[in-house]
Amino acid sequence: MKSFKEYIAYPYGLWMLIFIAVPLLVVVWFSFLSNPDFKAGVYTFTLDNYQEFMDPVYLELLYRSFLYAVIATVICFIIAYPLGNLIISLPGHRQNLMIVLMIIPMWVNFLLRTYAWMVLLSGSGLISQFLGMLGFQDVSLLYTQSAVILGMVYNFFPYMLLPIYTSLKKIDPDLLRAATDLGANHFQMFVKIKLPLSLPGIVSGSMMVFMPAVSTFVISNLLGGGKYMLVGNLIEQQFLTLNNWNFGSAISMVLMTIIFLVLGIARLITGKELDTGGQLL
């Protein structure tokens, strides 16, 4: 392959510098500037934006984003892990069919999937009607915390299932049989063999759910009705409504730091690059 030279990748290198590296640096730089008197062109270098974020109002918002994302991740795991095991127990071709069936909803536009839950959860929606028949009158589940978390679980569930399924599928069934033959009971076999071997899948699945969940602003806006602001909503608001780009940039930096910390921890646990279990295609 010596006929091909590395310089054919240089144009893309330039593209990455202009549209990936420079914009990130611009936002980092913005986050350290402030313009307290709103005079044109008068900016000072400061840590004020980060200090402003230390306000309890914003910290609570950060805590809420983190909490919702963790809850959504845990729920996805609790459903996906046993489900992955059940799928593994199917014969080969039915396994593929089942996985395809689980992925098809992902092909529906993300906004439409979220909107579908607005319809289901609304005051006149099916779920409220059903609850009404059971004697609970006028229950609207839309615009509640549960609706936001439900939206996260629904939208990101396949991201958890796929890596878990792939890592379970990689386990040699003979290993599990050997463990039971050698006297391990079902629980020991699970804790000592199956769980550690499927850990990489669990970790990457959790990352793939946690990251979009912690940074979303669409789900909280549509299913939470704007009542439960998350970090994503705050960033959107600072950039598009309040035009305070400096504060918005600082919040983005905080969000990125959290995500890279979590990624670092994930890498420590699995000891290698994340395995996403193949693409969703």
Binding site: M1, K2, S3, F4, K5, E6, Y7, I8, A9, Y10, P11, Y12, G13, W15, L17, F19, I20, P23, V27, I79, P82, L83, L86, S89, L101, M102, I104, W107, V108, N109, F110, L111, L112, R113, T114, Y115, A116, M118, V119, L120, S122, G125, L126, Q129, Y154, P212, V214, S215, F217, V218, N221, G232, I235, E236, F239, L240, W245, S252, M256, I259
Partner: protein, 259 residues
Amino acid sequence: MKKIFRNLAFGLILLFLYAPILVLIVYSFNDSKIMGPWAGFTLKWYVMLFQDRYILQALYYTLIIAVVATTVSTIVGTISALGIYRMRSKLKRPYLLLNNIPVLVPDIVMGITLMSLFIFAGMKMGLTTIIIAHITFCIPYVILAVLPRFNRLPENIFEAALDLGATPRQAFWKVLFPEILPGVTSGALIAFTLSIDDFVISFFTAGNGVSNLSITIYSMAKAGINPKINALSTIMFGCIMVLLILINIRSEKGIKHIQ
């Protein structure tokens, strides 16, 4: 007993995944603006959908953006993957690091950084900025799909073809390209789906004049429930199903052909 439990579990999870979509489809034929009890069959939401110029224009923009972004990112991504494959490791590492940023960084951060750049550079927000943004987040996925294909190739496959009398053009299209084609196809498919489905990055880089389907759905949904969206989702879901069935038939034919 175990089988009953297993099927029950599958049934429940499929119900959870499909119920919202099915409800949308059913209500798209309901003759009532509220999603309450059934008020009779109608096609009026579909008629209204096709009279809505905003939605039709958004559909047009979505497709234009996806086609341009997919074409450009597949070509540039494949060529760059070849270059990266040939790179010394000193240069390779920063390349792959930069390439991974759009994959790892949350969409909202990609959106605001690109928006800041465009405004900073004095560019007018519109179709160009959205397409640039889409190309930027699509190329990394193409490279991630194509690069492993190059890594798996025998070291001197291209030169071997030349030695055996192929012209460089023949050696590329008849020997090298078929080897990497599966990676290129899946890269292009990923790019196309990502572009069609993207909301967040488009939302920040679109400005006022241009909007894609996701942005249109978002602004309609923010105002509350709207039966026109139901009709739109039914059509989109129908297209996906037809596409999947076609792919399925084709791949089954392919398997039979091989057998």
